[in-house]
């Protein structure tokens, strides 16, 4: 049984805003990325999971319980990191941690201390005096102080410096190893790529694609760029090659070509006939894939196609 289940949720705010027929499932121990630009509907979807809003249509479940009707009950096992950092007024970090511990009715503070140490957080300060990074860390500490099995993270690393971002990614990977189920909403490709098993891409309130991260990493389709030492070599290669050359740049003596792993040997055989300046692989990143949906306004099938052939 999936830990998190979203079934055909629609919340229409009018003027094309909202989310429409959003569905996905997250299995136990899975890290699920939720990728999309601001305003695409990531936070709206998470609000449903947290029971903050009621769907117009559809329903969502966490651990088999309805997230609206059993909103309070399911929170025992959820760690939620809000996207916006708004803390109660006039509290120090320690007071806020104590407040949250009382609200969660937990007395064991060992996990809290562990997290404080991990993220190097000084909690004696007034919250409003804290830097954005410290506030983010404080939110992290209070979200996971009760060691929940389901983590819902809304843009968790914004405001953290690169070192802390890296540490946070490491933290997520550690949690994943412990078998926690994680929903990670983000618009930062690197952290999604680094942590997620599956990635949903949301655009204008609609989930346009759910891809396996492994599919990206273990893609047997490769793209290479080759530069020849002279125009003669360039010409010679083009004359003899059995590959389809997607892009030709005679001025620079460069070609780009697509091939699968099985054809790799043949490429090197062909290249051994000519003089080569360099050969480099053109990596297909999540970003490339993502951009297909956003910048180029392409359809879902176009994006799939590019993933297939790695054409860039």
């Amino acid at each position: 049984m999936p830990v998190i289940e979203v079934k055909h949720i629609t919340k229409d705010y009018g003027h094309g805003r909202g989310i429409f027929d959003v569905s996905f499932e997250i299995e136990k121990g899975e890290v699920f990325g939720f990728l999309g630009p601001n305003g695409a509907g990531k936070t709206t979807t998470i609000r449903h999971l947290m029971g903050f809003i009621q769907p117009d249509e559809g329903e969502s479940y966490i651990n088999g319980k309805d997230t609206w009707k059993s909103a309070a009950l399911i929170k025992h096992d959820i760690g939620y990191l809000p996207g916006e950092l708004a803390f109660p007024d006039n509290m120090t970090g320690d007071q806020f941690i104590k407040f949250m511990a009382e609200e969660r009715q937990i007395s064991d503070r060992s996990r809290t201390d562990e997290l404080k140490e991990l993220f190097e957080l000084d909690t004696s300060e007034e919250i409003k005096e804290m830097s954005l990074g410290s506030k983010r860390k404080l939110a992290v500490v209070t979200a996971f102080m009760h060691n929940p099995n389901v983590l819902i993270l809304d843009e968790p690393t914004s405001g953290l410096d690169p070192v802390m971002q890296e540490r946070f990614i490491q933290f997520i990977l550690n949690e994943k190893e412990k078998g926690k189920t994680i929903l990670l909403s983000s618009h930062i490709f690197s952290e999604v790529e680094a942590t997620c098993d599956r990635i949903a891409i949301i655009k204008d309130g609609v989930v346009v694609s759910i891809i396996e991260a492994d599919h990206l990493k273990r893609n047997t389709n490769k793209a290479f760029k080759v530069e020849f030492s002279s125009f003669d070599d360039y010409e010679k290669f083009l004359k003899n090659t059995a590959f389809t050359i997607s892009i030709k740049r005679p001025n620079q003596n460069q070609v780009k070509m697509n091939l699968t792993d099985e054809k790799m040997q043949q490429l090197f055989t062909e290249l051994s006939e000519v003089k080569v300046n360099f050969i480099s692989e053109i990596k297909i990143t999540l970003e490339d894939y993502f951009m297909d949906f956003y910048d180029r306004k392409k359809s879902v099938s176009d994006g799939e196609e590019h993933l297939q052939y790695g054409l860039h």
Binding site: G51, F52, I53, Q54, A71, L73, K75, Y80, E84
Partner: protein
């Protein structure tokens, strides 16, 4: 149902405003009470006596009546400031800023979040107005000693010094002043009277107090007897001092009442029984003379609080001409003594000056005895007005305090409802603060303008009818409506918050 951490957090982030408003309101109320000018208010009451306003004014010319502006305006606006900002802080501010998300990411139910917050607002308002009321009680007690006992007037203070007693001890044993010539003299001077008038005054006070205390005891006894009797309404069971004065026989039937009356007079129970029996006899003869008089004259004076001595001048002094005659006497005396009549009015003992008396008898045709008696009467009634103005009616004070509390609770329910209805602080402030403030403005205009027809229907402060409370009118329904507004809106807020979408 109640979340302790949320209650604690509400307290932590709102106690400062609570404290400031409570201190300010308590200080203002205490200030009003401490600076209350009993003599000034008493003179207004006297001036209005007999006019159409006397009924209205009699309610205003008491200590509590002088607090109307506090109860109608000052306490209301301070309460509004508190409830509007606190209601906003408690709910919509947390929703708008997003900090509510932290609380709702814990296993605390929404219903207990909102219930705890409404409970905090209600309890803090209740506590605020309890503190303010106690501050008012304390101020009145320390300034006039009129809450737990009889007000300490200037004569009691002066006599206490002479007799070397505590003031409050003496204020309950006025007969001690009567027994000491020296004390009588200083006490009389302290109240701008001569000993002759003061003696009448003191007797009058003691007599009235004895009736008040005995009436109270008899009422208590009747409660025990008739409590379960369905034929007897509350009004029937209760015996007022006035009823008892008309029929003092009831006192003779109660040992406790006799003991209480005797204590006031400082005499034995037997002696007191004697006093009451005499009074009953007097009343009988008075009635027969009255009947005779009525047979002779068509118009007759039946002024109830007239001092006994005045019966002799009733032949020539009637209610209609008494005021006129007094004015004539004052003017004559002023001429005789060559001072202004205002000075005479301030010190009526001057009427008894031989020169003044001579001229007064000439101009009015009354004899000296009658003028002396008239002067005494005037002095005693003016002193009694001051005493009346200094009385602290605990029951009315309780109703005023309760009415104010209900009004502020109703205001708070409006703000709280707006705070749960809206997701944006600005909107919640506009409605949740604007509506109560509009009510306040209407009330202020009403207070400033004498005739503001129809305005009373535009504000819920009308439901807190201070005039009715002070004059003993009907005010209970207003309280019920105010309470209902609070109950309905708080309930609606609680339901609404558990069902609404939160933009967190």
């Amino acid at each position: 149902m109640i979340s302790k951490p949320i209650f604690k957090q509400s307290l932590q982030s709102n106690w400062k405003l609570w404290l400031i408003i409570t201190i300010v309101a308590s200080t203002i109320l205490s200030g009003f009470i401490i600076s209350y000018d009993a003599a000034g208010h008493a003179s207004i009451a006297e001036a209005a006596e007999g006019t159409a306003f006397s009924n209205i004014l009699s309610s205003l010319t008491s200590l509590l009546g002088s607090l109307e502006n506090f109860y109608k305006l000052i306490a209301v606006i301070l309460g509004i400031v508190y409830v509007v900002f606190t209601a906003n802080n408690l709910v919509v501010n947390e929703v708008d800023s997003g900090s509510m998300a932290y609380t709702l990411s814990t296993p605390i139910k929404r219903s207990s979040v909102i219930f705890t917050k409404s409970l905090y607002l209600i309890l803090s308002v209740v506590l605020m107005y309890i503190v303010i009321s106690i501050a008012g009680l304390a101020a009145s007690q320390f300034t006039f000693n009129n809450v737990t006992g009889y007000a300490i007037t200037d004569d009691v203070s002066a006599a206490a010094e002479t007799l070397n007693h505590e003031e409050d001890y003496l204020s309950e044993r006025l007969y001690l002043i009567q027994e000491d010539e020296n004390a009588m003299r200083v006490a009389a001077i302290a109240r701008d009277m001569d000993t002759e008038a003061y003696e009448i005054y003191l007797e009058d006070v003691i007599r009235e107090r004895s009736y008040e205390e005995t009436a109270e005891i008899i009422t208590d006894e009747r409660w025990d007897i008739y409590e379960d009797d369905e034929d007897m309404g509350d009004e029937d069971i209760e015996i007022t001092a006035e009823e008892l004065m008309e029929d003092p026989e009831m006192i003779l039937n109660s040992n406790d009442a006799l003991a209480a009356g005797a204590r006031i007079y400082g005499v034995s129970i037997n002696d007191y029984r004697e006093i009451i029996t005499d009074e009953i006899e007097n009343m009988d003869t008075e009635e027969t003379t009255k009947e005779n008089e009525e047979a002779q004259e068509t118009e007759e004076n039946s002024e109830s609080d007239a001092v006994e001595e005045s019966t002799t001048l009733q032949r020539q002094l009637t209610e209609d001409n008494a005021e006129l005659l007094l004015q004539t006497v004052i003017v004559s005396s002023a001429t005789a003594l060559n001072i202004s009549s205002d000075q005479i009015s301030d010190n009526l003992t001057l009427l008894k000056d031989p020169e003044a008396l001579a001229l007064s008898t000439q101009t009015t045709g009354l004899n000296e005895e009658q003028i002396r008696s008239m002067a005494n009467h005037a002095m005693v009634s003016s002193a009694r007005s001051v005493d009346k103005a200094l009385e602290f009616d605990s029951e009315k004070y309780l109703w005023l305090s309760l009415g104010l509390l209900l009004l502020i609770l109703a205001m708070s329910s409006i703000s709280f409802f707006a705070s749960t209805l809206f997701n944006r602080t600005g909107m919640a402030l506009a409605i949740g603060g604007g509506v109560p403030f509009a009510f306040f403005l209407v009330t202020m205009i009403q207070q400033l303008m004498d005739s503001a027809d129809g305005l009373e229907y535009l504000t819920i402060t009308t439901l807190f009818d201070t005039d009715a409370i002070l004059s003993g009118g009907e005010f209970g329904w207003g309280f019920v409506v105010l309470g209902s507004i609070a109950v309905v809106l708080y309930t609606a807020s609680n339901i609404l918050f558990t069902k609404k979408d939160l933009p967190l």
